[in-house]
């Protein structure tokens, strides 16, 4: 108390705490936006490659999705979710809840938001293809964060219909001939048309023709 009376110890001004709170809230908001971006990018990659729709083809489709998950993005999501939890844990509305609940709450909000924001990446990717984005973003959308598709999974655009199936072209302009058999799983029917994008799970034969185990059309984002 003597030190206080002598003026050796000072109260920190109120603006110091307001600034500190503002920094925490801003930091949390930036991390939240980063998380939204990362998760929506992951959702976009999976949807764009058609892997997100593969589970409709059964267990093999689920396995294909699992192998295609963008693990680097998932690790970044967990890292940033941890940082966000640390930043907001000082607030009573967070620490009053069990840690597991608040982490799940954060992830649920982020994933829900991620699905809504994913179409934005479609626009970004189209811009990247036209060379209208800065180089780091071009690189981001071109692929280093995408997982290569499993060896039995193909996706592309149907360019020619054949008597036994179709020929499809991938982004690198390579073509794959796909054969449809009576056993092929076609959850949305077999009325394929040229220009349609599809994901195919199947085994490639000696001739390079893929005998389809299952085919599912890729739901396109609305044209901008």
């Amino acid at each position: 108390m003597k030190a206080i009376s002598r003026g050796e110890i000072h109260m920190k001004p109120r603006w110091h705490f307001i600034l500190l709170s503002a920094l925490y809230i801003t930091g949390a908001f930036i991390v939240f936006l980063t998380l939204l971006y990362i998760v929506s990018l992951g959702v976009f990659f999976l949807r764009d490659s058609g892997e997100l729709f593969a589970p409709s083809l059964g267990g093999r489709g689920w396995f294909s999705l699992l192998l295609s998950l963008p693990w680097l993005l998932i690790l970044l999501t967990l890292l940033f979710a941890g940082i966000l939890e640390l930043l907001v844990r000082r607030y009573a509305f967070v620490y009053k809840k069990p840690l597991l609940m608040s982490v799940f709450g954060i992830l649920a909000i982020i994933f829900l938001g991620g699905f809504f924001i994913a179409p934005l990446h479609h626009v970004m990717m189209l811009s990247a293809r036209k060379g209208q984005l800065p180089p780091p973003l071009m690189l981001l959308y071109r692929g280093p964060l995408r997982m290569p598709p499993p060896s039995d999974t193909y996706h592309g655009e149907i360019v020619t219909l054949t008597s036994s199936g179709f020929v499809m072209a991938d982004e690198d302009h390579g073509t794959t001939t796909v054969t449809i058999t009576p056993q092929t799983r076609l959850p949305y029917g077999e009325n394929f048309t040229t220009g349609e994008r599809v994901v195919v799970i199947g085994d490639s034969g000696a001739t390079g023709t893929v005998q389809a185990f299952g085919i599912r059309e890729i739901d396109e984002y609305p044209e901008q």
Partner: protein, 188 residues
């Protein structure tokens, strides 16, 4: 005059610039915080220094105190941070503050039964004798609940853990304490 005022009213006046009134808060809280330190740290010298540090930090940060809330959990939170940091420095390998499954998902191993007055008295006796045998994680809620007479919500605010976790830790702490007491009596 200040004796009739609540802690929160005094804190508000200190915030407004009446620094000398902080002495009244020191008078009110020094015995309580010294007891808390003594029971939690078992080191009277360190305890006195840490309580002094607590008051210095409280004074420096008093403008961050929301006077519409209770003063007691706020100052105990500062003391808790000081004590835990001191314990971490002293016994980093033995202290288990870093991660706790109970804050992750609080659940009781077995339902608690209502303690009778006799059991309560036994527990308080055990508390006096065997408190130092408990892990700080369990020791602290016991001190705050039984010795500082705080409720679950206040303890939750001081330790910044869910109220349900406070209940779980208290339940576990009571169980451990009873076991230690029973083992002690068997040895005697």
């Amino acid at each position: 005059m200040t004796n009739e005022q609540t802690d929160e009213e005094i804190a508000r006046r200190v915030q407004a610039g009446e620094s000398d009134l902080f002495g009244e808060l020191i008078e009110r809280y020094q015995p309580k915080l010294m007891r808390y330190a003594r029971k939690f740290l078992f080191d009277p010298e360190d305890g006195a220094d840490l309580v002094q540090d607590t008051f210095i930090k409280s004074y420096e940060n008093i403008k961050s105190f929301d006077a519409s809330r209770r003063f007691s959990p706020w100052i105990y939170r500062i003391a808790h941070n000081e004590f835990v940091n001191a314990l971490k420095k002293k016994q980093s390998s033995r202290t288990t503050f870093a991660f706790d499954i109970d804050t992750l998902f609080p659940h009781l191993a077995a339902p608690e039964t209502a303690d009778s007055a006799v059991l309560e008295r036994d527990l308080r006796e055990s508390l006096e004798r065997y408190l130092d045998k408990l892990d700080p994680k369990y020791r602290e809620p016991l001190i705050l609940y039984y010795l500082e007479s705080m409720d679950y919500k206040e303890i939750s605010d001081i330790l910044q853990i869910p109220v349900s976790t406070v209940g779980v830790r208290l339940g576990r702490a009571r169980g451990i304490l009873k076991k230690i007491a029973a083992d002690g009596q068997n040895i005697v």
